[in-house]
């Protein structure tokens, strides 16, 4: 009886394998100690009582999910900040490198580059705004519960009912948002450089880089199978 209960609890906690293993061991020790402390002598009834006193596996898993969700959110936030910082640093490093290579803006390109930079700035701003709105919405859509009844309990309970593929979708949505942002910044940066560069050699490489980053982001956008 206790092993069945432990299996059920481990299944409910399957969203975090290491947590599931840890909790299973802890609860196993708890339940057998409760059985040992039971003075009735009837093993089966003692197990039943220990499980009843312990509570419903689903409810306990839901309480764990709240803690885990908070941790995941914090980690995701830190990861996002680090990624953005890394992209920013890479951009700065590349611009510094281009400056070090002593690129100069030719006079005939100055007027055109100014216009292109303005257009590009507004276009990039629009894309970043729309992606910022679409990314979290898509991620939130991934957390759709299997049954409406689970919403009534708590958000944690609904999180427990999320199938793995929905979590994968939400992860892909977040990755999509990040890659989109990276692509947008990358293209913006490269286009600015292109508009300011005068040397044919460097300019010829810019569309290639831009296309590569765009293609990479497009690959991240499309899940392999529909959820």
């Amino acid at each position: 009886m206790i092993p069945d209960y432990l299996d059920r609890l481990a299944r409910e906690l399957d969203f975090d394998r290491s947590l599931s293993r840890r909790v299973r061991q802890e609860v196993e020790d708890h339940l057998w100690e409760a059985v040992a402390a039971d003075s009735t002598g009837d093993m089966l009834q003692a197990q039943q009582r220990a499980i009843a006193r312990f509570g419903d596996a689903r409810v306990i898993a839901a309480q764990f999910a709240v803690v885990c969700l908070a941790n995941y959110t914090r980690r995701a936030g830190v990861a996002a900040v680090l990624v953005i910082a890394a992209v920013f640093m890479a951009m700065k490093a590349r611009i510094a490198w281009y400056a070090a290579m002593q690129w100069a803006i030719s006079d005939d390109m100055k007027a055109v580059s100014g216009l292109v930079v303005q257009i590009d700035r507004y276009a990039s701003g629009c894309r970043l705004s729309s992606d910022s709105a679409v990314g979290p919405t898509s991620a939130a859509a991934g957390f759709r519960p299997r049954s409406i009844r689970h919403i009534a309990g708590s958000f944690a309970a609904s999180f427990c009912c999320v199938p793995q593929r929905r979590r994968r979708l939400s992860f892909r949505s977040s990755a999509m948002g990040c890659s989109r942002h990276c692509s947008c910044w990358e293209r913006n940066c490269l286009r600015n450089l292109w508009s300011r560069s005068s040397r044919w050699r460097s300019r010829s490489h810019v569309p290639g880089f831009s296309f590569f980053t765009y293609a990479a982001s497009r690959c991240g956008r499309h899940p392999r199978r529909p959820c």
Binding site: L19, R22, V23, Q25, E26, V27, E28, D29, H30, W32, E33, A34, A36, R53, F54, G55, D56, A57, V59, I60, Q63, F64, V66, V67, A70, N71
Partner: protein
């Protein structure tokens, strides 16, 4: 006592029980809570583990695996220094709250807070 009433204070209850018991595993903490509350706190025993996990994540508790006499592995929890400080703060807040409610229900004025 009703479970819903206890849930809001579960962290403080666990911290207080661990402070009294020193190092203890989940079952021992529950027994300590029951003993010290005179059996008044009757939560589902499983509720304690998410609370322990949450408090550990917050740095208020530390834990380690030990092998019991039975040969089973068990996780033993200890209050950290931060946990001790948190407990002192929560005790002070609870005292204020308790005095205020006591004053309301008993019709007496709560003692003035010197701070």
């Amino acid at each position: 006592m009703e479970g819903e009433m206890l849930k809001g204070h579960l962290d403080m209850i666990v911290l207080a029980a661990l402070s009294a018991a020193g190092s203890a595993h989940g079952y021992a903490i529950i027994e300590e809570i029951k003993r010290r509350s005179g059996g008044a706190f009757d939560l589902p025993e499983g509720t304690i583990y998410p609370a322990l996990h949450r408090l550990e994540q917050a740095g208020l508790l530390a834990s380690r695996w030990m092998t019991a006499d039975s040969g089973r592995r068990r996780r033993v929890y200890t209050l950290t220094r931060t946990g001790n400080r948190a407990l002192v703060e929560r005790r002070a807040v609870w005292k204020q709250f308790s005095d205020a409610i006591g004053g309301l229900l008993g019709g007496t004025r709560p003692r003035e807070n010197p701070a």
